[in-house]
């Protein structure tokens, strides 16, 4: 048997045959490693999870015309959208606003891609149903109350160029569509003042195509990336100005920063507590084994060999605890993610070696003081017949 094998034999026998004491240290390391692995998993997954949560609060980017009040074309908007990573694009809703008449009352109608509006504005509450066919529309709650409309009613929506733009000869034209109210929109915000119909119905009503006033986008990406998207789009599609809705993006990044700082702080505190627990256990182990240390020194062990043996035991414990913690940490992170964010988390394989290395390092640090005291044991201790 060579020296290395016998060294391993000694430290594994020490751990295996003195289980109760070592289990305490192993438990402390495993708990520390679990928290470390779990919280780091959450730390890295929180932006994704929180990003998804924040998408519930509506669009975080809008496209407007780069030349003031003018409009822009759907083709330009599509070119701009093409620059955004499809996996990050939660929703895209182009809007065209026109003034129409219902029951001789003027109001603003918004033509949009209703599926896109549903994706960018998941907080909209619809009393009734989303429009599923041509000739169906949503009416804002405030407008519905003013006009006395309710779900299932059919009304005539009139669009007149007089209200908007008369042709060159000064002739006014009037178009109308019979639309069915399929849902009342409740948001508590300005959206309740509008009616919403599909872009196709809007174009049929107004008779002209190819112009947009605004587009809303919901993108699941961190603040810096959103900013870079906005800059790239404004540059690549000059007729469009992409702007961030700072109220959303800034609160998202503030919450994320604070949450990540909290996670980091908790991790550091837990690692410190683990270190204290391991140091205490190892101190007790050294005290308990003073005679054995004295014997080893009496048999000719150098201080370096004594340090090597105790550190070996500590580091082996650290490695085993780290391995256990890496697995349990994922389970912990998964549990937190499912309960808090209602979605599962992806396993980060790189966390296994990192958790083991950190556990070994923390255990090594914790062992420094007790192991140092082990070298101070007097070998003559074993000769005193105590």
């Amino acid at each position: 048997m060579n020296k290395r094998k016998f060294f391993l034999k000694m430290i594994t026998s020490s751990l295996m045959r003195r289980r109760s004491r070592m289990l305490v240290a192993l438990l402390a390391i495993a708990v520390g490693a679990t928290i470390l692995s779990g919280l780091v998993t959450i730390y890295y997954d929180v932006p994704r999870q929180m990003g998804a949560q924040f998408r519930n609060y509506g669009a975080n980017m809008i496209f407007v015309s780069s030349s003031g009040d003018a409009e822009f074309t759907p083709e330009a908007a599509e070119r701009a959208v093409a620059g955004i990573d499809a996996s990050e694009l939660v929703g895209y809703a182009p809007y065209r606003y026109e003034t129409v008449l219902i029951h001789e009352q003027p109001l603003v109608a918004a033509g949009t891609d209703l599926a896109g509006a549903k994706a960018t504005s998941p907080y909209w509450y619809i009393d009734g149903a989303w429009p599923a066919a041509d000739g169906e529309m949503l009416v804002g709650n405030e407008r519905a109350e003013l006009l006395g409309l309710s779900v299932g009613d059919t009304v005539t929506v009139i669009y007149s160029t007089e209200q908007d733009e008369a042709d060159e000869a000064g002739v006014t034209a009037e178009a109308s569509l019979d639309m069915k109210v399929c849902g009342i929109l409740e948001t508590g915000g300005s959206e309740e003042e509008y009616i919403y119909l599909s872009m196709e119905d809007m174009e049929r009503l107004t008779g002209n195509e190819g112009k947009l006033d605004l587009a809303e986008l919901s993108i699941s990406a961190p603040g810096e990336k959103l900013q870079s998207y906005a800059e790239r789009i404004s540059e690549a599609v000059p007729e469009i100005s992409a702007r961030l809705i700072k109220r959303v993006t800034e609160s998202e990044s503030t919450v994320l920063t604070k949450l990540q700082a909290l996670v980091l702080l908790v991790t550091i505190v837990v690692l410190l507590l683990t270190m204290i627990c391991v140091a205490t256990t190892m101190t007790a182990v050294v005290t308990e084994r003073r005679k054995e240390i004295g014997l080893r020194k009496a048999l000719g062990a150098s201080d370096r060999e004594i340090i090597g043996e105790f550190m070996g035991e500590g580091l082996l414990l650290g490695g085993i605890g780290g391995l256990i913690g890496a697995g349990l940490g994922f389970a912990f992170a998964q549990m937190v993610s499912v309960n808090v964010f209602s979605s599962s988390i992806s396993f980060q394989f790189w966390l296994i070696p990192v958790t083991i290395l950190v556990s070994v390092a923390v255990t090594g640090l914790a062992c420094l003081m007790p192991v140092r005291s082990a070298t101070e044991v007097d070998p003559a201790l074993v000769l005193k017949g105590e």
């Binding site: 000694m10 003195r18 048999l299």
Partner: protein
């Protein structure tokens, strides 16, 4: 030339003179018993001979070299290479088997060799008990493991501290028989003991009192 030579060594702790100008010589192959009441300086003398302590003054010449002023690190190396220790309390590592306990001594000295360790155990009559833990061995068996461990690296001096102090008569006789065998083979033995019977079987008995040598005489009954 003597294997071990102590010249005028003293050890002083504050006002207490644990050893007072002690001189003695031990030749290779000699079997010496060091006796004396508690506080006579036996343990201090043993610590100095065992390279676990240094005298306040005087020379300790082991194998022709004065080791009295050596550093603790060098003393560890000398102890590892030249001294075999046998303890009253046996001091076996409780989580290692008998043969592994013998191999610990090899591990610090050179390279663990299981075959050689098993032969050493066979020499003290414990071949069958080699895979047992200390808790599964009797006191006498544990002391024999301790003796096998002390002998495994072929030390120049075997130093025994009350080797029969925790043994019954039957086991005491077994241990003394092993010592006789070792002496016949030429091993240098220094045994510290309270027990007159153990002192009498040695070739020579040195009696200490108040840190001084009271008597140093050959045992007339030595076989």
């Amino acid at each position: 030339m003597s294997l071990l030579e102590l010249n005028n060594i003293s050890k002083i702790y504050g006002d207490l003179k644990a050893l007072d100008n002690v001189s003695l010589k031990v030749d290779t192959g000699e079997w010496v018993a060091i006796m004396g009441p508690s506080g006579s300086g036996k343990s201090t003398l043993m610590n100095i001979i065992g390279c676990m302590d240094k005298p306040t003054s005087g020379e300790v010449i082991l194998d022709g070299k004065d080791i009295a002023k050596e550093s603790a690190k060098n003393l560890t190396a000398i102890r590892r290479d030249k001294i075999g220790l046998i303890f009253q309390q046996f001091h076996l590592v409780n989580y290692l088997t008998a043969v592994e306990n013998v191999m610990v001594s090899q591990y610090y000295h050179s390279i663990p060799d299981e075959k050689e360790a098993l032969e050493a155990l066979a020499r003290v009559g414990l071949a069958e008990r080699a895979r047992h833990l200390p808790s599964q061995l009797s006191g006498g068996e544990q002391q024999r493991v301790c003796i096998a461990r002390a002998l495994i690296n072929y030390p120049e001096i075997v130093l025994a501290d009350e080797p029969t102090g925790n043994l019954d008569e039957a086991n005491e006789n077994i241990v003394l028989d092993i010592f006789k065998q070792l002496h016949r083979e030429g091993t240098t033995l220094i045994v510290v003991t309270h027990d007159p019977e153990v002192g009498e079987v040695a070739q020579r008995t040195i009696t200490l009192e108040h840190g001084k040598i009271l008597r140093d005489a050959k045992n007339p009954g030595f076989e």
